[in-house]
Amino acid sequence: MSGVELWSIADITRRIAAGEVTAAKILTDTIARITERDGELGAYLATDFEGAQTAAALVDAMRSANLPLGPLAGVPIALKDMIVTKGVVTTAGSKILDGWSPPYNATVVERLRAAGAVIVGKVNCDEFGMGSSTENSAYKKTRNPWDATRVPGGSSGGSSAAVAAGLCTASLGTDTGGSIRQPAAFCGVVGLKPTYGRVSRWGIVAFASSLDQVGPIARSVADAALVLQAISGHDPLDSTSLAQPVPQFSESIAAGVTGLKVGLPKEYFAGEIDPEIRAALDNTVAALKEKGAEIIEVSLPHTELALPAYYIVAPAEASSNLARYDGIRYGTRADASDLLDLYCKTRGAGFGPEVKRRIMLGTYALRSGYYDAYYKKAQQIRALIKRDFDAAFETVDVLLTPTTPAPAFAFESKATPLDMYLGDIFTLACNLAGLPGMSVPCGLTKNRLPIGAQLLGKPLDEATLIRTGAVIESALAIGAPP
């Protein structure tokens, strides 16, 4: 890779503003790369080159007329297919939404367009965001750009693969239990899950409403900061959106880590971790220390309970949210003789195995007589996990952990659903507590598979993640895939 596909957002916007290149040319190069590479990679579910050409032409016309350009003017961006796009098919990776053309745009789409972004298409994901490998997409397999025999992670696997392979400059993903950070780690890119409420969920296909957040996946911390800036802020259309000021995230890039207190939660380093990941995290710690950070061991004693708590809370919310797919108002419909039969057959045919499994799990947990033992108990454990973080953040400014216990795995290598869930162990607690989290590449295995370092911050303190992530990135850059 040597051309537009490696340019940063700052490169693109600066060159367009200076008249060195047009948005149309950047788009043409991006389309050529998608056409050339995506057959093998499998990142895109749908492209909207016509809409993208209109957006790029608008940027070029504004430049010619000396009108002010937005912060993402001319930047090619792909959207996870969980994000609703007016007139562009949105499936959430599910057959039950096959061919659905939404009548409105998600707030994040409107904000990206207002910032001048050029939205090139929709990218693959696990069905309804449920999975860690994108293997649960009803449509296609997405390959890891570093090793085509391995998964890109999930559920935002298409987003991460497209960014890593240069098939867009940045992408939006969604993260309910690690679905931005884990695929970012597997594909060697930066993934940032904002604080719950930082970014509007209006127009995001709902999985687990108290956990879902939208965030950027990008090739650098600086790019992630710029995209986050464009999509953040209060939205009256989302009642859980926070009316809090949004800082200038890019100002944190060069702040450094001198005097910053970085916590290492001992529970995240105690279990089974791939030795190469452990070594990469040791390098990360050394790099932060070298740049002036103070490293402090902390304890998050309820860490091991995050997995059961998450896999009760998230399916419970999903079982309620996905009740809307009934074959009546939109989506696919099965032939049936009466209404109950219609519901059961439509949903039986339209949902894939993992989605059914989670709906079943959630329905079980919410059943009369079981609610206290499962759902209420899990919500109480969630409170304990949040307390752990609150206590840790009295001592430290940011937490550092591995993003995943192992690097990207081979297709169909997880024998059971539980084996797949266990790989999410390091990313779930962040969502349960509503904290911001980011994965930054911090090394490669000897087989040249990317390794991610995860940073977890205080609520609304994405700026410290960006500041810390930028230092890790500059010390331990891994470059682009082959």
């Binding site: 009760i312 009466d338 219609l342 059914k356 079980y364 304990l384 659903p417």
Partner: protein
């Protein structure tokens, strides 16, 4: 916590409005059973006096001002309906055997 029986799996599938064939139900029985068994560790956690956490951030449910504002056009909202008659959504009989 009890392990899952086949009868329970069938009951949950009906509650969840999910048609599954015999093989899928059998698979669900063993998979869900294994998952629930793994999660049984939560029963031993002392959560006395711990209030359940429903949301990650304190949220006061806002009241929308009582003013009409533009919303989705009816034609746009109905465009994706799988089966309709003009502006009406067609559904099969709500009570089995009573027609469309």
């Amino acid at each position: 916590m009890p392990s899952l029986t086949r009868k329970e799996v069938e009951e949950i599938a009906l509650l969840a409005r999910l048609h599954m064939d015999e093989a899928a139900l059998a698979r669900m029985e063993s998979e869900l059973g294994a998952i629930l068994e793994h999660f049984s560790s939560i029963a031993a956690v002392d959560t006395t006096d711990i209030p359940p956490m429903t949301h990650a951030v304190p949220i006061e449910l806002p009241l929308r001002v009582d003013v009409a504002f533009p919303s989705l056009d009816a034609a746009d909202a109905l465009r994706a309906v799988p089966k309709r008659d003009g502006d009406l959504i067609v559904v099969p009989a709500i009570i089995a055997g009573s027609g469309e």
